[in-house]
Subunit: 387 residues, 2 copies
Amino acid sequence: MRDVAVIGVGLQKWGERWDRSLRDLYCEAAQNAIDDAGVDHIDSMYIGCMSSGLFAAQEHLASLMADYLGVTPCPATRVESACASGGLAMRLGWMEIASGVSDIVLVGGVEKMTDVNGDEATFALATAADTEWEGYQGVTFPALYAMMARAHMEKYGTTIEQLSHVSVKNHANGALNPDAQYPFPVTLETVMNSTMVSDPLRLLHCSPITDGGAAVILVPAELARTKYKKRPLVTVIGSGHATDTLALHSRADFTTIKATEVAAQRAYKMAGIGPKEIDFAEVHDCFAIAEIMVTEALGFFEKGNGGPAAERGETALTGSKPINTSGGLKSKGHPVGATGVAQIIEVSRQLWGEAGKRQLKNPRRGLTQNMGGSGGSTLIHILERKD
Amino acid sequence: MRDVAVIGVGLQKWGERWDRSLRDLYCEAAQNAIDDAGVDHIDSMYIGCMSSGLFAAQEHLASLMADYLGVTPCPATRVESACASGGLAMRLGWMEIASGVSDIVLVGGVEKMTDVNGDEATFALATAADTEWEGYQGVTFPALYAMMARAHMEKYGTTIEQLSHVSVKNHANGALNPDAQYPFPVTLETVMNSTMVSDPLRLLHCSPITDGGAAVILVPAELARTKYKKRPLVTVIGSGHATDTLALHSRADFTTIKATEVAAQRAYKMAGIGPKEIDFAEVHDCFAIAEIMVTEALGFFEKGNGGPAAERGETALTGSKPINTSGGLKSKGHPVGATGVAQIIEVSRQLWGEAGKRQLKNPRRGLTQNMGGSGGSTLIHILERKD
């Protein structure tokens, strides 16, 4: 199998984009990535999108986007794994190049979530849970993660202050990211006093509804070293994909995200490294408790130490293991299908030294963790700067 | 890249399956394929499904199915390309094994279409067209294909009798297929006098709404020759994927399905053969006109000769180029996400000599053509019996 490199990225300002349709959001990000990479064609494209059907009454999404991007008859594939759809698109793009089937692959993600009302958006998002056993009983995602938070607090003594520190840190990072939906800092007090959503989770412990697209261009490392040489070489050294039960009630333990643990083991094994060798990570902080549980599942901190680590500032830009330098889902926004691809963009920018005011000092390896539902799926990628 | 073989298949009786849920349909087909292949685990799974969101309020589909099949944390990927979703799942499964990433891959497709009412089903299906330019203007698929039929009749003199012969032939084949939704013959007179749907297309020129699942097990050819030796070796010698504009109005010519022409060229090139070397094919007869246009796009007949060839019986079981020996979408049914996988099953069974009363005499190469929307995407696979 061939080594695969990221050579270009494209994004736009995320938020309530009344001025952009579903196809605009995707095509803008995709064209930005194509221009950034300097490629004159693409061999294949993958799009991660959770539910263009329920959010925009549009399926057959990849062909539509190939059409509007002007690249037909290029093969175009839409993949779906709820909020992990973008990470899944990344994995398949990586596989297509690694296998030798294609040389230049456009990997993108998109979600247009604000063209439906709040009830409809909540319903659409709830289809990432087990509809028959959870959705139809009235369970929504804030409630599922609230149960996970309660269990974690009970078992490990995780506090509401620790959860709140995650939000404060992610907003501090997002304030340095001009593409973020909410690019401003918040205080611990503001988070702790925000509206209750599902006890113990308050509004500022929850990621928002967002319109946005994201795209990257992948090529074989050999082409990145030669024809498309423009930046330091950044390659995919690990890819892991795992599933777990969709319904939370089927799990032995609410405080562990098993799909993330397994996907991480697979990605670490492929890369031949462990969590200590990872300099920073973009993780799926759909709710503050998720970031804490995920940093534990990735092996960055011992079980029960994710909360204290966040409180001590270990996951801040200046900490030992910076997490969500982009602002994460909380501040940057969470257009579900695009999120996993935007994580790849942030890690690439950090490794290239192009992360602006939030740039880390000479990082070498970054990890992305993108998660569907309450942890029913996880996609992990590890990127490394080679020169 | 490694050669890939089909070693097991699973299906069930298709139709209005009030006794089966979405997850039942998929898991039944998947378990049948696993049992048929005799594998004791799978490394990865792909599911083609067009719109479990609109038909069943369920996304995150592949993880749900991994959960209900009892194979978590197995990587599970859902792909969508409207009615070509099953063919797309096949292509990715092939790629994953060809690349060396996995050895045993479960490729499946499913759609549960009868749990919504007729208006809702028509709406859901219309999302395979360009929603903003076609769907919201009231255009549905019978209307789109009726326009293509009118153009073909005008340009090439194709007749309503010729269209009707396609339906008669497919029902004759389907009558020999116990899994078919409508396993009975129809006469030319019955077809010609059936209810008008969208002039010139009558009810018996249109494929039905169907509940169904389908699955196959793929392994490297080397494993099929040794550990899983049970049947004649059947491998994938060609795979082609192409897109076209989603909206019919954007095309230069309504009488040509360009995505099928391009995908066929790609598959033929990979296989190193042409249409003359194909013994039989399963094609996407969502409407009778589609089968005629597709047999032309595949190079089986000259442009304008698809209709006369059907009328002369060249595409019948006993003809020179049997098409849709399974009964096709018309008689077998069309659970959209499962259709492309069921095509692989029929071709495999014919090549293995296991097609029962509809068995062809010693066929060596079969082709599958699975199409999304009005031709916005096409997936083609060519399978060959090696011994």
